[in-house]
Amino acid sequence: MGIITALTTQFAQMLLVLLLAPLFTGLVRKLKARLLRRQGPPLIQPYRDLARLLQKEVALAENASWLFRASPYLIFSATWVAASLVPTFATGLMFSWSADLIAIIALLGSARFFLALAGMDVGTSFGGIGSSRESMIASLAEPAMIMIVFTLALVAGSTQLSTMADIMRAPELGLRVSLGLALVALILVALAENARIPVDNPATHLELTMVHEAMVLEYSGRHLALIEFASSLKLLLYVSLIACVFVPWGLAPAGAEPAEYWRGAGLYAGKLVIAGVALALFESSIAKMRVFRLADFLGAALMLGLLGTLLLFVARSL
């Protein structure tokens, strides 16, 4: 019985992220449009886009290799697995211990590795520019993320997200400077990792400044659908991650009553809406950055993470 419930919750989580990811993307788009006084696309537009792309023929470049065709599947499944491992409405799911936060970051790194390779596969200049810049962004964002993980892990005494959420929820924790630094750094990294303004513009095409879109320029049809879906999942993952670590209230603990699961799910939806509003507000009020200023932007995230960790190392002996 216990196992069946655990398995069901685990699958529910996997399905939930799959269903919610396009909706969240649609929500952010709608809110951004409203902030610009436009009507904006309906909330379910991303689902329609995906369905349309799936029905379309794939126009494959003549010299595309097997790697180009296999990458969308790998990117999607790695992102999906990573997104399912981040607690959304409940902690302590059946397989949550199979990968800690470091492994989740590394799974996203695998997805990016293949995306960057796919960008170089056809041998066009746009693909190369995208891969090259994505590699630069990643090589700054990933260490910043690891420093954030260090900070969180030192506070919580664990790199497991479920344990982290439980400890962050405890009232005796109080406010900590290191956690504040980590939160700011995590938001900066999340913006960069999801190709949001000011790092990259998700709505752009045919611009020399594009990064993510340049890499996927040669994709079409079902392949493009998978890649778009994977980026929605990744956005949802980062929002869930911030919610799980910094606002863990409402997460149902392992073996909880069904009512608690429903409450957790309801609160999670609320958190998503708040995150969507915040993201839309932020993106509408700021301009995109020049590519080479990104180093300062992400360098700040890295330094904040390092500072947070250092404070904790030093504070242990005080």
């Binding site: 794939v58 492994a103 695998s110 170089m120 596969d121 090589s139 990933e142």
Partner: protein, 682 residues
Amino acid sequence: MTLPKVTDLTAWTMTPQLLLSCVVVLLGFALLGAAIGRRRSASPLVYSGCALVSALLLANALGALLLAAPPRTAWLAMGLPWIGAHFRLDGLSAVFLVIINLGALAASLYAIGCGRHETAPHRVLPFFPAFLAGMNLVVLADDAFTFLVSWEFMSLVSWALVLTHHRERENTRAGYVYILMASFGTLALLLGFGLLAGPDGGYAFASMREHPPTPMIASAALALVLMGAGSKAGLAPLHVWLPLAHPAAPSHVSALMSGVMTKVAVYVFIRFAFDLLGPPQWWWGGIVLFVGGVTSILGVLFALMQHDLKRLLAYHTVENIGIIYIGLGLALAFQANGMGLAAALALTAALFHVLNHSLFKTLLFFGAGAVLTATGERDMEHLGGLIHRMPWTAGLFLTGAAAISALPPLNGFASEWLTLQAVLLSPELPQWALKLLIPAVGGLLALSAALAAACFVKAFGVTFLGRPRSPAAANAHEVELWSLTSMGALALLCFAFGVLPGAAIDAIGPVVESAVGARMPAQLAIPWLSIVPVAESRSSYNGLLVFGFIITSTLLVVLAIHRFASHRLRRVPAWDCGFPDPSPATQYTAESFAQPLRRVFGTRLMQAREAVHMPSPGDQSPARLTVDLRDLVWDGLYAPISGAVGYAADRLNRLQFLTVRRYLGLVFFALVSLLLVLAIWG
């Protein structure tokens, strides 16, 4: 007739005597190679012989390791008359014998295939088996004299292999720098042993263990070993020879030098720091950590700037050696503070990374060798599109690239994850210097892992993807089955240790226990085969499940797509935003791929300067972009030393043209001053 019992079997297998006989057979193959090296049949003969002997050595070492056999010694009446030659097979040497002979077996198999394209086989065949013999001897040696002779033998033979193609100017320079650095390293080790042996001359390791040195002497010896072994391993700032010498040798030898010989140097460091020097001081850990962190970041940054495939791999060896030394430094720091479990975790991480790096670096060098065999090119700017013509090599190289970039579920991630877990245990350390140093080193570790991924996107993307940039790349063919088999086996091992890291961790458990007095809990007993360094609530990782999830979800997606999505597919010209250019020269190159990172990291560290030379209006010549990079280590350390040596040599040159009368005067003066010294201090 009765079958021999297991005890009888272990009486003669897994002994140093048997391993030494194998080494003698290898030396025999070296002589054979010298005798018939020019014949066509020589190459398969020598390499298959080496493969057989390496397999035998590997089986014995693996047996000794897995059965956790007690140390066994051997004594031969060779070498210095009053001590002879001591040999010993214990857990630590068994771990490294496994690594050496696994690499040797793979390299021999690979060379049965690709080795037949060698243009100067008579310069490789005599030295290759001797090189294998030398590495085995270093690890088996149990006294200072045998050790130093084997070490120097290994260095000299590998030097000869570096000079295989000695008519190329670059290789000659590489050989020159290598022999200088190797001599420096041996000198440092010689002095280190001198300090340990003391005035009574206890050269056997056993007597050094019995009389551990005073902390003062131990610290001096550690510094010497850090320099001696570090120069062979490629620790900054002693790494300059490595990216010159490793790529110069034939590819299977490059693989052994990078994947295996650097590990022999790590063995020497571990043997000293955890066995011979007695209890460590906490600041040893700090120094090793600092050096390791600097090495890893320097290595990966220089790797990013390379466009020679083999040199890029060699710089990555420098990076990974840095990661290994970070683990070793943490282990020393923990052990000095009596944190046995944490020290065990850090040392396990380091040893596991030693194994992993030997696997994927050997694989990557084989891949580079296959590309070199197929196209005659090492320069990535002349390659491209090889995934179409060499699909197997491409897939295997990709596995190695993913493993070295620390991507789950492969093995590189497992060992770097363990190292990060060890870093997370370090706030408990009492020393302030370590508290400030370790977070910074952790940041460097994360940075170098991320940069390594960027670098391998570049290496794989430019070499294997895109369109061919030269006719050689356009007409390449897949390499022989032997070479592919060898690469395939290594890729399989990379994968196996990635999903079942517990097997490797448990195998090195007893070794770690004898080095630091504690070991990680047995991992294979944990349900679902996860690895749990300290406690499950703290951290756990399960490569098998992660791999299972990825496979399952990929299958689900493939099924869903197959069921619901359109199947139509049309081959069309590349889109490229509507402006496709038929010339492959418009693709991103290795140089342009690294440009953003060069601007971010290189302007200070490498003094990178870009200059655009535009022709004047009306001039038909093309515009040129030149990039100037400087190696500050070379400019700041080696150039002054080499200048000073040159200056002194010029001045001393005068002494060669004196009259006999003056020479006699000099001799007399030297004698008198020596006698004076004796009279005063004697």
